[in-house]
Symmetry: D2
Subunit: 165 residues, 4 copies
């Protein structure tokens, strides 16, 4: 018996091949991002929205640093967790919201670049739980990117709560 095991790229299309997210769903994501005041405080922007795939961007800033002048792991985690959460959210019905159950962050290099981008994607979605992975890249002036962190996250679909709740 021959089993071909071609790895991740066989199953998951390149992000560049992904279709755009339906406008109504994209609007729901943008509205939810706008309600997360910490994301505004850190300066997080939406870079790309696709079904099961979200990229968020952060500009390095003097008030977001750790003790050596690199972007703080807490800021990288906020970005990575949010990218995964919204990747899951793109697949939820309209009356559902997303909560993070847990995640693991591995920090593999300091983020010394002027920008940081986190890509989150859905690996498996069930009725209640959605499992995601994401990568955080430092982006240099010229656009070269370097892996700075990896996340593996479990998200939960919950009944939508009003923003004022």
């Amino acid at each position: 018996m021959v089993v071909e095991l071609l790895g991740v790229s066989d199953d998951w299309p390149l992000p560049s091949e992904l279709p755009d997210l339906a406008p109504e769903t994209a609007a729901r994501v943008r509205a939810s991002v706008a309600r997360q005041t910490l994301l505004s405080t850190l300066g997080v922007n939406i870079e790309r929205l696709a079904p099961g795939y979200v990229e968020l961007r952060l500009a390095s800033r003097a008030d977001l640093m750790q003790q050596h002048g690199f972007v703080h792991a807490g800021a990288l985690t906020t970005l990575a967790d949010s990218a995964c959460g919204y990747a899951a959210y793109t697949g939820f019905p309209e009356d559902r919201d997303v909560l993070t159950v847990d995640f693991t962050m591995s920090l593999v290099a300091p983020a010394a670049q002027p920008w940081v981008v986190a890509a989150g994607r859905v690996m498996r979605s069930g009725r209640t739980l959605t499992i995601c992975r994401g990568e955080v890249y430092g982006i240099a002036e010229g656009g070269e990117r370097q892996l700075v962190a990896l996340i593996q996250a479990t998200m939960m679909a919950v009944s939508r709560m009003s923003a004022s709740a």
Copy 2:
């Protein structure tokens, strides 16, 4: 053969029983915290410093929220990761600094209280790696606390880098 297994509390003293941290070490922790600009941006304060044990506190603020008005998981993670990192750091020699290798955060309840405190403690320290656990509590007006998150983290001792590096 009878083996008595009395659990965590048998091995780890109550935080209230811990001695104070040596003043020089405490000064190094405070200086390092002060260099982390994200901690100032979020409003993180040191609550308690002891050997292998650190508590950090955050006041809930309108600009630190997720979409339902609770303290954002990214802020909770920043607090928890920092508490664990500094707990490890209290045991390092003077010429060493601390880097986070990885951590797992489990979010168990929304943080709706006016304050949040993260306690980080060393579970096992080796020459290179130190394994920590921490808890994040929401603190109500009256002082009652509620568990909101759990962290398990791996920290690494590295040669000290200058703050300007």
Copy 3:
């Protein structure tokens, strides 16, 4: 404002202070353990059953080793994951079964002792998800124990499936 933060031991009683598990619940746990053939293959025994708390034991054996003659991380993980899963299960209604969603294992020392015991306990239980922590100890001939691993795990309550499913 003074907030007393007394840590884990304030909230969680010592295992030795825990009441015994109700006989019907204990019988359900024992029946479920007996159906897990890997646990029999490895030689896992139940050491203690209490509400939200389970200890499982494994005797070191020549066929359970890693490359240096210590108990293999895979065996330690099986023990730790099962202790956490059954700790969660003790709190479930009779028509529910337990599934592991995810866990993080930190390996802090080699398990060179003749026995290994894993203690799993519930940290927070919700309707669907239960968050647990556990420790794995190596137990020497004389009964002294040494921490060898830490686990943080997320468990899910699911509708009971028949053993033949």
Copy 4:
């Protein structure tokens, strides 16, 4: 500024495009696998060895099950952790051995197939620590595979210990 973010598959070649591992390194991996008695007990075989990439295979067996007749999470974890550990090991100098520091396993589907294969790959290797990711697939009779688990792992290079140590 336009930043192209093409995701994982841009950076990591398909496993089928990877070169074979140098024979001496492959021999070291095979010798180390052979010393891990738990792997023999479970019936683990090497499926593929490439630089920074290892696949291990397990046949489902009646004595490796959880309570519903699926391959036990403990067996899946043993496979996934070993695939990641040996993927890291392929890049180590000859006098180094590999230890698992920690890992996170997410279980996304029951393993009901006759075979299970874990693929582990190196995401970032440093002097001391190597960060890996892996996937576990259930393999059906016809060769179709289904994702059953995800792992993210931190491995450490240590001075080689003798097998009798």
